[in-house]
Symmetry: C3
Subunit: 304 residues, 3 copies
Amino acid sequence: MKMALRACLRTKPGLTGLLSQLSCSGHAAARRAPALVAQRSSSSTSQKIKVDFDQSSGVAVMHMQSPPVNSLSLEFLTDVCIALEKLEMDKSCRGLVVTSSQPKVFSAGLDILDMYGKSPEHCAEFWKAVQEMWLKFYGSNMITIAAVNGSSPAGGCLLSMTCDYRIMADNPRYSIGLNETKLGIVAPFWFKDTMVNTVGHRATEMALQLGLLYSPAEALKIGLVDQLVHEDQVLTTATETMTKWLAIPDHARQLTKSMMRKPTIDKLAANREVDVNNFVKFITKDSIQKSLGMYLEMLKRRKA
Amino acid sequence: MKMALRACLRTKPGLTGLLSQLSCSGHAAARRAPALVAQRSSSSTSQKIKVDFDQSSGVAVMHMQSPPVNSLSLEFLTDVCIALEKLEMDKSCRGLVVTSSQPKVFSAGLDILDMYGKSPEHCAEFWKAVQEMWLKFYGSNMITIAAVNGSSPAGGCLLSMTCDYRIMADNPRYSIGLNETKLGIVAPFWFKDTMVNTVGHRATEMALQLGLLYSPAEALKIGLVDQLVHEDQVLTTATETMTKWLAIPDHARQLTKSMMRKPTIDKLAANREVDVNNFVKFITKDSIQKSLGMYLEMLKRRKA
Amino acid sequence: MKMALRACLRTKPGLTGLLSQLSCSGHAAARRAPALVAQRSSSSTSQKIKVDFDQSSGVAVMHMQSPPVNSLSLEFLTDVCIALEKLEMDKSCRGLVVTSSQPKVFSAGLDILDMYGKSPEHCAEFWKAVQEMWLKFYGSNMITIAAVNGSSPAGGCLLSMTCDYRIMADNPRYSIGLNETKLGIVAPFWFKDTMVNTVGHRATEMALQLGLLYSPAEALKIGLVDQLVHEDQVLTTATETMTKWLAIPDHARQLTKSMMRKPTIDKLAANREVDVNNFVKFITKDSIQKSLGMYLEMLKRRKA
């Protein structure tokens, strides 16, 4: 079934059809009361994402719970996209908070195991899922708030930057940033565009060249996150903030959001295949594979 | 006569011809001494704009005095544009300070009465005048300084952003910002572009989505205004600031200003009709008219 | 020989061939040990640039020593470009620190004597050299750090802005900025683009219109420089900072740098001739020549 879902991701009508079926049971529950909606509870992938949808407020909370560190694997990205698409299609869902159920980490970013020692075909499929995640989140009609309750490097930082507002735990041991160069790889242009839109050209130039990971305080200073609160308050602050955003008429807010983001989204949307080919060509290079291998070894040693 | 002036606005040569006649009396006076120049004093519209032009310094001060809150109506915008055009053509006028004669308000922004319950033709004429105001101010060869001596929401904020420098009264009861979404309407792309050029992409994204009105202190912090002074000092500070700008050779400053702003101006100049059509189509929607009606009701209740 | 070098500058292959011959002796010395490499010591122009290349660290330091104020003359720019090109081709050179050997000044900017009273042909040749300097520095594959140990107006500011990082002496008597308008001339679009990429649109608009020269503290505040240190520590801090940048894999860093800067570089690269023609047409105007003449007189009087 997983493969089928992935195949669907590529053709929106198909996905829509599938999801509208899938979402039936969940929504039946949701309409009764504010409730925990276990998405596709019959599916083996359901444990990685838990979505609480409060029908009365119109706000969903997406809990990422893919141990140990919410790595954005092909499988997890597929789940995330399906969950997002489902909420997007539900007119009663106006806001989405994204947060982590894993301790100390929001998301560790793209799963290196989906890039290391894999076939070009697998790498291509993986990259399409990364694109899909970005396109869906950055272009979401919903109000999206990242409740960054832990470290958020690389793809984790990207995910948070796609949101409309970022609240981070003020724990100085956490960090956030696009640190790709430190691994010998390069953030693609749409990661870069997203960061430029968030912190400006100069901060992005330095952050990306040096692969900087910022402490919460530093991230606040350059505007990479919007607000710091105590670790215990991240989710409640996100909910309170959402209330302010919900006060704005949806139609006007959505048109405004689209006006701000569409040029950036269109750049990738018009170049997805080229971007996939560039990624696959780059990531399958011997030198890059070697870098990734060394990085994985380092991670293993650190664990041990 | 008012209609004739409006018609002229559409064809620059005609306007120029008309204004060069109109400006004769005023300038004869102006050349004698620094003096109050009552523009087109014979016209019924003259009371809404008072222009003091000090021939010795080359600086004009435009006082907006359209009670109660300097709403940018079709009529008022037409007057403002004619006054600006007149100063623009006068080579001896190098700098312009824009300020308000109304208490507590710089300008309340676009006049909703010109968008509510009006024919598509009227809405189109109104929007052309808004475009004209922006094009003339943002592209002015003069040094333009906004002396923001009161609240400045929506179109009032836009007008101040078209200037080269913004000085605001530090009265915390005043606010400034593009709050269109709060009314259920959407700032068009050139409002957005102007704000991005002023405070950057991220601040604009949040400000426009939430329709934020900033206190003077907040506006200073994000760069929406350049300086805060006591209410009594706004105009004198503007005049002092003007002196610094006047020290720069006009030709070099004008070329530099044009280099900075031309790409943004060209975007609207090349799409005026499309932009008018978009506005008319949007504003005449039942749902939008209903929003505006509710807003007007709310304003009436507040007054009462 | 100087003329030959200049001619070479126009055709990269020729230059490359020439430089690879020229660099032989210098590199033989450099390979032995960290050493002072007197570039083209046989050339009469060698005294204006001293390059110390430390083979063990892979870092070169370019000392500008063109008395009295490192004016960017055609001759000096040619030397600078040749020195940079030489380092660029040396794969063992990964980082470059640019600094001044002249007291109190980093570089006084473009040499007015190459624009005043000169033939259009000379002006064109001069401008091509300015373009070349910018293209080479802004697009350098090396890590470039400006050790701004003195005032850095106009072209001096531009040179520092092409670098990846700027450290300035915290002496309040020094200043930095693009002050062209104060001389009645206009910074071209690629000066503007570089500044927008560094401090954003709004700060650039004001800085360029007013020809602002910033104190070190002000420059830090708007992001025109990245760090202030005591005058004595500028060069050592640059070296320490370089170590952090060297920790990033070259390939990933270079691709990232190119992604950030290529659109800006391409704009000039595609329009060099038009830009040269614009410059020549502007600078040879009687009014502009008169402005430059007055400025030179003022400088002479100040000296006396």
